[in-house]
Symmetry: C3
Subunit: 352 residues, 3 copies
C-alpha cells in the first residue's frame, strides 16, 4: 500500500486530490480495479480516462483538465508508472542462500547474499557477484563470471568462460556461449567444426529475453555492451559486437561478425547477414523483418520488407518481380523512341 503522497515523492510528481488516498495495485486505464493506480501517456487512450475505475492516475500537465479521478502530475507518466509498478511486482525471488540441491564447485567464489535455487550448477573457478539470483536448473560453466545484482531465470545455460555484468536480467531457457557456427570442408568434403575458443562478454544493465542464443567467438569474443535490451528468441552469432543502449526486438538475428553501433533499434525479425563482416552505424533503426546484407554508414531509419495484401493481388504481382529489370529497360526504350520522334517531328533541320 502506498499513499498518493508517497507516490508523488518517488516520482517527483504533484498530487491533485487527496494525498492520503492509498493504492494497492496497478492497472491499465481500461481494466484497472478500485484501489489501482493507472497512467496515461499516449493520447490514443485519452478517452479511456473518463471511464476508468482506477483510484488514481499518473499523467502529464497537458492532460490534467477534466481528469475525473485523483491524479499525480509528472514529466514522464510511463517511467513514473514503471517506478511504482515495480513495487507491486509479485514475483517471489529465490530464497536467500544456497539451495541444498545446488551443486557449487569448491573453487567457485560467491559474493554475499546470493540466491541460488534448486538444481543449480556452478562450475569450477566461477565468480558469482553479491546479490546474484540463479533460479532453478540454471547451469553456469567453469570460469564464468556473473556481476553483482544480476538475475538469471530458470533453465538458462551459461557456458564456460562467459562474462556477464551487473544488474542484468536473463530470462528462461536462454543459452549464452554455445559454440559459434564455424564450419569448413576438409580435403575429403567432410564438414568440420572450427573450434570456438573465444568468449561471450556481456556488459552491465543488459536484458536478455527467453530462448535467446548468443554464441561464443571463434578466437576473439562476442560482445554485448552495457544497457543493451534484447527480446525473446533473438540470435547473436559468433564475433558480433552490439553497441551500448541498443534494442533488439523479438527474433532479430545477427549472423557472424556483425558490428552494431550504439543506440540502434532492430525491430522484430530483422536479419543482418553479409558475405563478410557487416557494420551498422550508431543510431540506426531498422524496420521489422528487414534483411540487411551490407554496411549502413549513416544513422537513420531503414526498411526493406514487403507488405501483405490479399492473396489474389499478391499472386498477380509477386511473379512480375522477375520481369522488373526487363520492364525498366523496355520503359527506357519506349522513352527513347518517343524522344527521338519528338526530335524527328521537330524537323530534320534540328537534327542536322
Amino acid at each position: 500500500m502506498l499513499s498518493l503522497a508517497e507516490i508523488a515523492q518517488r516520482t517527483q510528481g504533484r498530487v491533485i486530490g487527496d494525498e492520503l488516498i492509498y493504492i494497492s495495485g496497478v492497472g491499465s486505464l481500461a481494466n484497472a480495479r478500485k484501489g489501482d493506480l493507472t497512467y496515461l501517456s499516449n493520447q490514443r487512450y485519452r478517452s479511456q480516462l473518463q471511464n476508468t475505475r482506477a483510484t488514481a492516475v499518473l499523467l502529464s500537465e497537458q492532460n490534467v483538465a477534466n481528469c475525473p479521478i485523483p491524479a499525480i502530475v509528472v514529466g514522464n507518466p510511463q517511467l513514473a508508472f514503471a517506478t511504482i509498478a515495480r513495487e507491486f511486482d509479485k514475483r517471489e525471488h529465490v530464497a536467500l542462500g544456497i539451495d541444498s540441491t545446488a551443486r557449487i564447485d569448491s573453487t567457485a567464489r560467491l559474493g554475499e547474499d546470493v540466491r541460488i535455487g534448486p538444481n543449480v550448477i556452478v562450475g569450477s573457478h566461477c565468480e558469482i557477484g553479491a546479490h546474484v539470483e540463479l533460479c532453478a536448473n540454471v547451469s553456469i560453466g567453469a570460469h564464468a563470471k556473473i556481476g553483482p545484482n544480476t538475475s538469471i531465470r530458470e533453465n538458462v545455460v551459461v557456458y564456460h568462460d562467459v562474462q556477464i555484468g551487473s544488474h542484468c536480467t536473463i530470462h528462461a531457457n536462454t543459452s549464452i556461449g554455445a559454440d559459434g557456427f564455424g564450419i569448413a570442408a576438409d580435403d575429403k568434403g567432410q564438414l568440420q567444426e572450427i573450434p570456438q575458443v573465444g568468449r561471450v562478454r556481456i556488459g552491465d544493465d543488459v536484458l536478455l529475453g527467453a530462448s535467446v542464443t548468443i554464441d561464443r567467438g571463434t578466437i576473439d569474443d562476442t560482445v554485448v555492451h552495457d544497457n543493451v535490451k534484447i527480446d525473446d528468441q533473438v540470435h547473436i552469432a559468433h564475433n558480433c559486437v552490439v553497441g551500448a543502449h541498443s534494442i533488439l526486438c523479438g527474433r532479430a538475428s545477427l549472423a557472424g561478425s556483425v558490428t552494431l553501433g550504439e543506440y540502434c533499434v532492430l525491430a522484430g525479425g530483422v536479419g543482418i547477414a553479409g558475405e563478410g563482416p557487416v557494420s551498422i552505424a550508431s543510431g540506426v533503426e531498422i524496420g521489422a523483418m528487414t534483411f540487411v546484407s551490407r554496411d549502413i554508414a549513416e544513422p537513420g531509419r531503414y526498411s526493406g520488407a514487403t507488405l501483405h495484401t490479399d492473396n489474389r493481388t499478391w499472386r498477380r504481382n509477386v511473379l512480375r518481380l522477375n520481369e522488373l529489370d526487363s520492364m525498366a529497360k523496355r520503359l527506357r526504350h519506349v522513352e527513347n523512341l518517343l524522344q527521338n520522334r519528338e526530335r524527328n517531328d521537330a524537323g530534320p533541320s534540328s537534327a542536322g
Copy 2:
C-alpha cells in the same frame, strides 16, 4: 492389438474384409509393415495403395474400388487414423505420484492422480489440477494454475501467476510468462525496463510446441484462448490476444498488443508488428513469411513474401525495386504523351 471390428467401432467405420484381423501398429502407405494399419486421405498418394505392405487401410467411400487389402471405410480417414494411432503411441508417461526429487511448495494444491517427475519445482500457492503431468525439470512459478489433464514436457518454464487451462500439451523448453519487452529511455538516455505485472492466461485444449515464448502482459494479461494450436519457436509478445481455434505455424511471431481473431491460420515465419496495436479479423489466413504491419478487417487469405529465383535473376531484379515508384511515374508520363499525340493526331477541331 486391435481387431478391424474394434477399429471400425471406434471410428464409426465399416469393415471390408475379415473383421477378426488384428493390427499391431500404424504406418504410412509407403513404409507400413505387416501388421500395420495405414490410411489414404490425399489423392496424391492413391497410387501407393497398390503396393503397400500394410495389413489394412482406412479410406473414404470413393477409394474403395480396387483396394487390394482389407479396408475400413470412414468419413474422414485422417481423423480416424489419428484416433487409432493414439492407441499405439509409445510415449511413457511420468510415473503416477510425486518424484522424490520434486520440490513442491507446502502451500501448493495438487489434484488427484498427478504425475510429477524428477527435479520439478512447484512454487507457492500453485494449483495443479487432477491428472496433470509435469515432466522432468519443469518449473512452475508461484501462484500459477494448471488445469486438469494438462501435460507439460521436460524443461518448460512457467513463470509466476500464469494460468493454463485443461487438456493442454506444452512441449520442451518452452517459456510462458517471461517479462514483456517494454523499454523506455529515461532522462539520461539510459534504457529502463517497464515492469510487466500482467499475467499470461491460456485456455483449454491448447497446444504449444517446443521453444515457444509467450510473454506476460505489461499491466493487462496476454491471452491465448481455447483450442489454439501453436507450433515450435512461435513468439507471442506482451498484451497479445489469440482467438480460439487459431493455428500458428513454426516461427510465427506476434509483436506487442497484436489481437488475432478466431479460426486464423498463420503459416510459418509470419510476423505481425505495427507501430501501435494491430488487429486481425477472425478467419484470416496469412501465407508463409509474410510481414503484416497493419490491421486486417476482412476474413480471407493474405500474403506478402517474395519468391525465390536463381541468384542471377534475383540480383538483376531486386535492385530495381528502388526505381519502382519512378518507373510508375515515367510510365504514366509516356501514356500521357501518347494520349496527347492521339488527340493531336485526331486534329485541332476535336480538341477545340
Copy 3:
C-alpha cells in the same frame, strides 16, 4: 604448450623459423598476445600480419614473403588452425562416470566411459554409447539411442525413441522429437492433434546448435543424415529429410515434409514451406531470409529476399509492388501502340 615442430607435424606443415619456439594459446591476427599462434587465410586480413603480436602464424605458401614472425606453411591455414585450436579449448568435460543425482532407468544400457552429469534423466531401454557426454539437466526419453562419442550439452531434451548417431554435438536447450505439428479440424470445427508416432533419426557427425527444434515424424521418421551442421534456432518440422553434408544457418526453418538434398547450404532465416511436400536438389545454396515455396530441381544458388534501403525510398516503392502487374500490362500496351504507329508510319501499303 606445443612447439612449432609439433604443430607442423600435426598440420603436415613446414616451419619457417625456430622449430623450438613454444605456443601457449591461440588468437586472431588483430588480438593475439605473446605466446599465441594465429593464422592468415583470407587476403582481407593480410595487412594485419605486419602488426600482429602473435608468436607464430599458420599461412599458405603465397603469403610467406615478408612474414615478420615465425610461420608454419600449410595447405589450408583455417583447417590447420582448427586442429591446433582444439588443443587449447578450455571446456571442462563432465566428470567420468555417473553423477549421483542422475536418474538412469535400470533397463538402460550404458557404454564404457560415459560422462553423465547432475540431474540427467535416462529413460527405460535407452542405449547410451561409449564415451557419450550428457551434461547437466539433459533428459533422454525411453528407448532413445545415443551413439558413441556424442556430446549433449545442458538442458537438452531428447524425446522417446529418438536415434542419434556417433560423434555428434548438441547444444543447450535444444529439443529433439517433440510432436510434429499435425492439426485437423473435427466435425464440430474443434482442432485435434494428429498423433505423431514416427521418430527422429540423426546420423553421425551431426552438429545441432542451441535452441534447435527437430520434430518427430507423423508416421514415418524425420531424418537428419550424416555430417549435417545446424546452427542455433533452426526448426525442422515433421517428416523432413535433410541430406548428408548440408549446412543450415541460424533460424533457417523447414516446414513439414521438406526434403533437402546433400551438400545444400541454407543461409540464415531461410524458410522452406509449400502447399505440399517440397523437394530441394543436392548442391543447392539459398540466400539469407529467402522464402522457398516450391521444388528446386537444379543445383545452384537461389535467393528471394528484398534489400534494405532508407525508409523514405522504401515507403515510396514498396506500395507500388501492388501495381506491378498493371504496370507490366500498361507497358506492353504502350509498346504495342508504338509498334502499330511505326507500321502505320511506314505506310498503308506495307499493312495491305
